[in-house]
Symmetry: C2
Subunit: 256 residues, 2 copies
């Protein structure tokens, strides 16, 4: 098991994800970017627009993980309740924030366009620091180790990039993939032996069946480049010993 010192959790907030209306696209982005920062995304949870559930998840996860990220529920409509839930979870007031108002004001020609619905987006838990939104200006915010982002992927990603350099992380989690044109039922035994020899490297096997080829992508993950290369070399040798020629790279990545 690769265990970077720092672990994170993602809370994906939104009925529309659980109903299947919207397919989440933020988990994949966050998982990859956090690994680059030496942070392991250790859990992700999709939860509904339900205040009790959101507050309970926030309070559980903010003590269990170094960093907690939330996506969704910070817009101007009645079903956007994330900021209010963060305030409740931390036991602080939800307040209209003057700086958030200045940020949001840039979108409009006059104060008259700042409807009550839009001003809801300036309600921030007391003590939180704002996270700039380079796309549409309504800010996210950070409360201790909880980072609150928009749900729309383009905005979520822009907000994440604003704060990424402030995150405590470690050595990047790297990966090396070897593709074997052999079924997992043949690879399984020898691969378990390789994993035993490299307890500090996490080896995953992901089967695919594409263009008539039954194979598996064997992905080694770790933080030590030299050990990772040793594990990849052992995997390549294992594939050769099974009578097949390994291919470097992850040929089995499923289409997103």
């Amino acid at each position: 098991m690769v265990s970077p010192k720092y672990a994170a959790c993602l809370l994906i907030i939104g009925n529309e994800v659980l109903s299947g209306r919207t397919r989440d696209a933020n988990l994949q982005y966050l998982g990859q970017r956090l690994n680059q920062r030496g942070i392991r995304l250790a859990e992700a949870r999709v939860i509904p627009d339900d205040a009790e559930v959101i507050v309970a998840a926030l309070n559980e996860c903010r003590v269990r993980f170094d960093h907690v990220f939330t996506t969704g529920g910070i817009g101007p409509t009645h079903d956007d309740i994330t900021a209010a839930c963060v305030a409740r979870a931390f036991g602080v007031a939800l307040e209209r924030n003057a700086e958030a108002r200045r940020m949001l004001r840039r979108n409009y020609k006059s104060d008259a366009e700042l409807t009550e619905a839009r001003l809801k987006m300036t309600e921030i838990p007391a003590g939180a620091s704002l996270i700039e939104n380079p796309v549409s200006h309504a800010p996210g915010f950070r409360m201790e180790n909880v980072f609150v982002f928009a749900g729309i992927p383009r905005i979520m990603q822009a907000m994440f990039e604003v704060i990424v350099d402030t995150l405590k992380g470690g050595a990047p989690v790297l990966s090396k993939a070897v593709t074997a044109r052999l079924p997992e039922g043949i690879l399984g035994g020898p691969l378990a032996d390789v994993q035993k020899r490299f307890p500090d490297v996490e080896i995953g096997s992901y089967p695919f069946n594409r263009d008539g080829i039954h194979g598996a992508s064997l992905v080694a993950r770790g933080t030590e480049p030299a050990r990772l290369e040793e594990a990849a070399a052992a995997i390549r040798q294992m594939v050769r010993d099974l009578g097949s020629e390994p291919i470097d790279g992850d040929l089995g990545v499923p289409p997103a």
Copy 2:
């Protein structure tokens, strides 16, 4: 809040999802199909290939939810540990299952092809009932209210369809969508008033910006067709009152 009597949880098991290597495709399918069966997908969790974490999640969720579904981790390699974790969670033995072996055997010409790795796929918690796998024959299984499926979407879906008629459910969760070519900052106030008039209908607002149009899909969900139509009519009227012509349907669905 739409609250069908029955609530379900999905545990997505796999390091490859958390690292961003693989984008989950099962949540969306399951959420939609469960709604059709009158079951609310109330939570989904992505968790790593870590026995402690999997066992804890299983034991938490199987008492909290009517139905628990797991995807991933039932293949022939060392990182496939779901069946062993289910056995631990229920405090039963993990045993080689003769019927699972017969199912799996169909894939091969001779017994010799049943490698130890493949036979690992016949290890089933004692007392579980098997779920047929119409695609590749290695079965899933059911243990009380926990349904264990493969992670590969085509196989997961086939397994789900095998058991769907056995699930206790209620009236289907239906949805009616109205698309407004107005920004959420204008819709927010009036939409909150509509939601107050229809407490038994769940109304979500999902903004989009496509082909130069800023708009929002306003989606009403509920189990009573007549009430849903009333809510949709109220939303249409609200959009007209704001000076715009509503469009039936969810034009803002993001590309999957």
